[in-house]
């Protein structure tokens, strides 16, 4: 019995080693999801980011129709890769409000000309205050907001064929 006890420290060390090695070999995927899901969209009001499209504010989100709030930027590469998906969603009649993070008008115009413009509104969030209020940790991110302005769903990262189904389901549920 005492012999077995002698092995205990080694056992603990092996366990410790395994935990640390596992953490090094498979680092945890730390995508920070917003804790605002199920809560009303935060107070914000952003000026128009480009000529010809209005800005975005929390009042626009409470007009009775569910919609998407897409947090993006012209300098963000995955935002360009999700552009065709947004285009498809816009063609289905889904309203997409854009929040452009730390962007310049000339860059945005070039981005929209090159990748298409699925947005009905784009607000300029030059100091990322609106983004932080939404609990968004990066670009691109997309929120589903229902007609009463309650945040219902979030996709952190680009919209792609793998996650668009869940997004559409969340939009349907928000109706």
């Amino acid at each position: 019995m005492t012999r077995l006890w002698l092995w205990l420290p080694l056992g603990i060390f092996v366990l410790f080693f395994a935990v640390v090695a596992n953490g090094l070999i498979n680092p945890a995927d730390r995508v920070i999801m917003s804790k605002m899901i199920g809560k009303p969209a935060p107070q914000f009001s952003l000026p128009p980011a480009v000529d010809g499209l209005p800005g975005v504010g929390v009042a626009n989100l409470r007009d009775g129709k569910p919609k998407l709030v897409n947090i993006f930027a012209s300098w963000c590469i995955p935002c360009a890769s999700e552009a065709p998906m947004l285009e498809q969603l816009a063609k289905q009649g889904i309203e997409i409000n854009g929040i452009a993070i730390r962007d310049r008008q000339q860059d945005l115009n070039r981005f929209l000309a090159r990748y298409g413009n699925p947005y009905t509104r784009i607000g300029a969030d030059n100091d990322a205050k609106a983004q932080i209020s939404f609990g968004s940790a990066g670009v691109p991110e997309t929120f589903v907001v229902d007609g009463k302005g309650i945040i219902r769903y979030q996709i952190a990262g680009d919209i792609n064929p793998g996650n668009v189904g869940a997004l559409l389901a969340a939009l349907k549920a928000a109706r």
């Binding site: 804790k35 100091d127 990322a128 205050k129 932080i132 609990g135 990066g138």
Partner: protein, 137 residues
């Protein structure tokens, strides 16, 4: 053959596709508040708020754009007279207690407080056992 050698060399001159904003940092990101007492409060809070991009650094240490935005936000709100702990809980409401390096005591964090005391008591017990053995000899 030459093409194979040349291609990597040409890469040296290629402009990298930078995924970063061209706008300058947010207004108050790197400018101290004029009131030293408020700046001290802001700095102390920034050192305990985790950067969402780099995740291993506080926003006071990080060069990420988002950290700069958060520093600016904290300075502006402290300047307006908001208490640091109220800003912290505003951020925790959005990102979870993950965003704070000073997590509140809870069932998840309780081992951090309880275990050192438990180890100390175990140590006392072991040492006590040793001393007693010596005395009986």
């Amino acid at each position: 053959m030459i093409r194979r050698l040349l291609a990597p060399l040409l890469l040296l001159f290629a402009a990298p596709a930078a995924a970063d904003s061209l706008l300058p940092d947010a207004q108050m990101a790197n400018i101290q508040l004029s009131d030293p007492a408020k700046e001290r409060q802001a700095k102390a809070l920034m050192e305990t708020i985790r950067c969402l991009v780099c995740q291993g650094q506080s926003i006071a240490d990080s060069d990420a754009d988002m950290a700069a935005d958060m520093r600016s936000l904290i300075r502006q709100r402290i300047d307006q007279g908001e208490a640091p702990e109220s800003i912290r809980s505003w951020l925790v409401e959005r990102y979870g207690s993950w965003v704070s390096y000073d997590p509140p005591p809870s069932t998840v964090t309780s081992p951090l407080w309880v275990l050192p005391i438990a180890f100390f008591l175990i140590g006392l017990f072991l040492v006590g056992g040793r001393l007693r053995v010596k005395r009986t000899k």
